[in-house]
């Protein structure tokens, strides 16, 4: 028997602190696989956000730094400008990227910063106990929208990726989901592409990944994975939102 699948070498041997079925765990694993397969561990520096992925550095075995909540895009900008040879991974959740960090996100994208941004969208603030996120769906119950998100009071789910796709500095934005084998494979390819674009010095590249949060959505694990595929995609359709790379990466 040949081994056809191993735990990735760049995942430190630890149980994830994330809940059972959490999308972050899958995404951390994909990031670790991609960095390993591309052979870029020695150049990669990750910026960890606040939120459930605050401990990303405990799992993905590359140089990592903590960032203030929401400021990852600015921290990553400073690091990349100071040392352009680094491959900078900016990993953020929906609150980090699209609430408190909105200005930093938009302006880093607008400047075309050579970063690889992984935007984990689980429509809720997980680490702090399940409050509304900018991307919470209409009617979705959270601890701060106990009666369901009402557009008259709380507005609509924020389509930050669509907004960023309007900017000239943005080269690539794709939205995927990690809630099916096909989705996970597509996500891994998208992450790899987002790293390649940085390495080829083209511009801002981001993958928005719809991710399940079973505990804060008050669902079973499988139910939460299905909710992403059936409900979340209605507000956040999957697919390529912008890609100016043409045939460059066609295999």
């Amino acid at each position: 028997m040949n081994k056809v699948y191993s735990r990735p070498a760049l995942l430190k041997r630890k149980a994830f602190h994330h809940c059972a079925g959490c999308g972050h765990s899958v995404i951390h694993r994909l990031v670790a696989e991609v960095i390993d397969e591309m052979g870029i561990k020695e150049k990669t520096v990750g910026i960890a956000p606040c939120g459930c992925s605050v401990f990303a550095y405990d799992y993905i075995d590359v140089d990592f730094a903590e960032s203030a909540h929401g400021r990852g895009a600015a921290v990553a900008t400073g690091l990349k400008r100071a040392y352009p040879e680094a491959i900078v991974l900016n990993y953020q959740g929906d609150g980090d990227l699209a609430a408190i960090g909105t200005a930093e996100t938009i302006h880093a994208a607008n400047r075309g910063e050579r970063l690889t941004t992984i935007f984990v969208n689980n429509a809720v603030y997980g680490m702090t106990g399940g409050q509304m996120a900018p991307t919470t769906l209409l009617g979705q119950t959270t601890t701060t929208t106990p009666f369901g998100r009402d557009p008259k009071i709380e507005g609509h789910p924020l389509k930050i990726s669509e907004m960023l796709a309007l900017l000239d500095g943005v080269v690539y934005i794709e939205r995927t989901a990690v809630t099916s084998p096909a989705g996970i494979r597509k996500t891994k390819k998208a992450i790899e592409k987002a790293f390649r674009i940085q390495m080829d010095d083209l511009g801002y590249a981001m993958v928005e990944i719809l991710s399940p949060c079973p505990v804060n959505w008050k669902m079973g694990v499988l139910e939460s994975w299905q909710w992403v595929d059936n409900e979340m995609v209605k507000a956040f359709p999957l697919g390529i939102l912008k890609d100016t790379t043409g045939d460059r990466y066609a295999h």
Binding site: N2, K3, V4, Y5, G21, R29, P181, I184, L222, W225
Partner: protein
């Protein structure tokens, strides 16, 4: 004839989320009745199953707890 495969599930880090069971095309896994140190009932491989080593379980496993072997 389909390939023969088998998997190893790390009983220490498996959280018993059962996503692998949901996506396995061959019903090769079931939930253990032995609780692990973290308080979960982990998933175990059914010996004698028709596992083909497709590795879908490993791809979907959030914990990266599964290693896959194939002939």
């Amino acid at each position: 004839m389909a390939a023969k495969g088998y998997i190893e599930i790390d009983q220490v880090i498996c959280k018993g989320c059962e996503i692998c069971i949901a996506f396995c095309p061959k019903k090769s896994m079931s939930v253990s009745d032995k609780i692990n140190a973290a308080g979960y009932f982990p998933v175990v491989f059914n010996d004698g199953s028709e596992c083909t080593g497709c590795a879908i379980c490993a791809i979907v496993c959030p914990e990266a707890a599964i290693e896959v072997y194939r002939e």
